[in-house]
């Protein structure tokens, strides 16, 4: 925080610069060819400063973050430029010298803690490895240091948590242990690569608060890589906006947020402003879908307890909750993949058979599903024509020219050029395009209800927003009802008419969007709402002050 409070970081003295990149170029190998993915980046980082790198996927932000360790991923290479770290050029020195720096003076925190830890070793053993291997501390000192860091990072039972294995702690805790691991060698620079992206909003805050505190206390410089401007606003003194391997804009955090210069940055700042116009309440119709007192379990563990909700015609009902709240299970019950133990599913007033294979073709047709990850929702061996055409043939009996015409029509509807896309395979599409094809596949069945399971969470924010716009437009045009499952309250605010809040497999709060979003809130709804990062650099500090000590003791 020091640099930002001083005003302009760039005017600080030369000796203060910890990391300087000059004309950094990185190439990636694709189809036997080297393609440049980072095109000459200049970057400067001062001691104790936190720099945010932001951009959508493919912007090169992680690649640049790793280059700060003098490292290039498999299939990538640093092809030009200089990376000066405290007087040595990381691009020139030998691999041995670079390794001597890593873990000791420069450390890295990866996005997925679960994938970054070795599941066969205890946490403490993995945390002390770097300082012990580098000969900075002996084993006992290192353990004491690690426990001290656990305490500073507000992990529960700091003395004993190190004895656990990675799978025995929660995702948020594991992420904090990884921060402790990175801090263990008391590095001058830590690169955080999307450390909170995989976490729930309430957990994200815990990690952000812990990281912020410990980084400030140790005066460590950091590069914070993320796609979420609101998150980086809480953490960084300065922000660099990246796109396609170029710097779009850079400046101190407040400047970027309050007065963005470039169109792209403006779009990022505005990303959460999409709003659906309010629908008048109409309770006269029989609802499209009624979930009545459903209790369901995987084996013996109950995951849904007495869940009820209704989806009115042409309305969007958003189901929100953190991971493990049972919102996706609700979708599985509705589609018939998981027959409930108690309760029933009614569609237009008629009770549906509980298992999907007992439902008629027409019943199946009327409820369609769009998945979270378009990568696994499309068969990589099928062309777009096959994917969209199959439900047309299967449900509506369209063949030959008629089918071809309808596929083209649907492609135009989802704003993809038929001539260009109809012959492509799923592997030749971007994430947003894949999700559009999934939408077209659902639409092809001519459904009444579409279940959207986290449809934007695997996408970049701007792309996700376009998908939401498309869904809203299609709802209007075809009178669709949506059951929208999400953990992202910004999405809920944007598109929902009704909101159902779930926690631990139960519905804890429900009502119209305005009811849910205007105080007074249910206690858990309040926690969720207040945990969504805002585009305001002071938001986290303020929130933590409000929540006070009560919050700091939370988190078991």
């Amino acid at each position: 925080m020091t640099a930002a409070t001083d005003g302009h970081a760039s005017e600080a003295s030369e000796g203060d610069v910890l990391l300087r990149m000059r004309g950094l170029r990185i190439e990636g190998r694709a189809d036997e060819e080297w393609l440049e993915i980072v095109h000459g980046i200049d970057l400067e980082l001062h001691r104790g400063e936190v720099l945010g790198l932001i951009g959508e996927s493919g912007a090169g932000k992680s690649t640049i973050g790793l280059a700060a360790l003098g490292y290039a991923r498999d299939g990538c290479r640093i092809s030009g430029g200089e990376i000066w770290f405290d007087g040595v050029d990381l691009a020139r020195i030998s691999e041995g010298k670079r390794r001597a720096l890593r873990g000791r003076r420069i450390a890295y925190v990866a996005q997925s803690a679960a994938a970054a830890f070795n599941p066969a070793h205890r946490l403490i053993d993995q945390c002390v490895e770097a300082p012990v291997r580098h000969g900075l501390l002996d084993r006992e000192q290192a353990e004491r240091e690690a426990i001290d860091l656990f305490r500073k990072l507000q992990l529960p039972n700091p003395e004993t948590i190190g004895q656990r294995f990675p799978h025995q702690v929660s995702g948020g805790q594991l992420q904090r242990v990884m921060v402790a691991m990175a801090m263990a060698g008391r590095p001058d620079l830590i690169v955080f690569d999307e450390p909170t992206t995989a976490l729930d909003v309430t957990t994200q805050i815990e990690v952000m608060a812990a990281v912020k505190k410990v980084v400030e206390a140790h005066g460590t410089a950091a590069i914070y890589v993320t796609h979420d401007l609101a998150v980086v606003a809480q953490m960084a003194d300065r922000i660099i906006v990246l796109r396609n391997g170029h710097v779009v804009e850079q400046g101190d955090t407040r400047g970027i947020l309050e007065n963005p210069q470039e169109d792209y940055t403006r779009a990022l700042v505005r990303v959460r402003e999409l709003r659906k116009e309010r629908m008048e309440a109409d309770d006269t119709d029989v609802p499209v879908l009624e979930v009545a007192n459903v209790t369901a379990a995987y084996g013996k563990d109950p995951v849904l307890v007495d869940v009820s909700m209704t989806v009115p015609k042409q309305r969007t009902v958003a189901v929100v909750g953190e991971s493990g709240s049972g919102k996706s299970t609700t979708a599985r019950v509705i589609t018939g993949l998981l027959p409930p133990q108690k309760g029933s599913i009614r569609f237009h007033g008629n009770t549906l058979p509980s298992a999907y294979f007992k439902r008629t073709k027409d019943q199946l047709r009327q409820i369609q599903m769009i998945y979270q990850s378009p990568d696994t929702a499309l068969n990589p061996k099928h062309s777009v024509r096959d994917v969209i055409g199959r439900p047309l043939t299967f449900y509506l009996g369209l063949r030959g020219r008629k089918r071809e015409e309808r596929v083209r029509e649907l492609l135009s509807l989802i704003e993809l050029d038929p001539d260009q896309f109809i012959d492509r395979r799923a592997t030749e599409l971007s994430g947003g395009q894949k999700q559009r094809v999934c939408i077209a596949r659902a639409l092809a069945a001519d459904p009444q209800l579409v279940i959207c399971d986290e449809v934007t969470s695997a996408l970049d924010q701007l792309v996700g927003e376009e998908i939401l716009r498309l869904l809203l437009r299609l709802q209007k045009e075809f009178g669709l009802s949506y059951l929208f499952i999400t953990h992202d309250l910004a999405t809920v605010r944007a598109i929902a008419d009704h909101v159902v809040v779930m926690q631990h497999g139960e519905v804890v709060d429900s009502g119209t969007r305005d009811e849910i979003f205007t105080p007074p809130h249910h206690e858990y709804t309040e926690l969720l709402l207040s945990s969504v990062p805002e585009m305001d650099p002071d938001w986290l500090d303020r929130l933590l002050a409000e929540r006070g000590e009560e919050f700091r003791d939370r988190g078991i």
Binding site: G75, L364, M369, A377, L378, P380, F394
Partner: protein, 280 residues
Amino acid sequence: MHALLDNTWKVLRTAPPTALFGLLVIITILLAGLFAPWLAPYGETQVVGPPSLPVGDDEFFFGTDEIGRDMFSRIIYGARNTVGIAFLTTALAFSLGAVLGLLAAVKGRWVDQVLGRLVDILMAIPPLIFALLILTITGTSIMNMVLVIAVLDSTRVFRITRASAMNIGVMEFVEAARLRGEGLWWIIRHEILPNITAPLAAEFGLRFCFVFLFISALSFLGLGIQPPTADWGSMVRQSSNLLAFGQLNPLVPALCIALLTVSVNFVVDWFLYRTSGLKD
């Protein structure tokens, strides 16, 4: 057609030398087997000279066997029998194992349990002993042998098919197809099979090697391909006592077996490397 040739050429050009060597050997052996009657200087069972001539003889380059048949001619005819039967057996093992494996993966529940346990039982018995047992009971016809080995080998194919189909089966596009109401065979044919062809094809190559060695082993033990039909495995057995006299005759068919096995493995390795995405 031209594009296909072009493509093949492109693929071949990037192939490592080991794979090219493997391909060359396989093609040579296939051609030798196909055109055996024209290539072989003598008949398959024709006695043409004095018995047990050593390798390097002026007239019979690979020597003659214990009753005076030309080793070279019999190697060429042997390619036809050994490789042909091994191929037939592998194909049979694959049809059986793959179909059952897919069924077990997609159906799950009791189908999977019953098939899985059956396969476990078959795999628990050492295959060579099991084959010897069955063949002793039923008699040693080629048909019997093909069937027994095919059933025994299909257990391995079942396992790998089931495992890879399970991995695909949990993908959301398969769930989407189920929810659409698609039938079992449609899902297997359109959603799963296209995504597991690579591991299956690689497995086919490896299985072929094992079947081929298995037949050779059975022939060596006298329960495989019966004389006078030429076959590499039984040729080793029949001339094996010549080794005691310092003659190299049995090594010729043994080398052929080794060469083909190694070659197939080279090609399979290359194929796996290409399809697994482990390119850099």
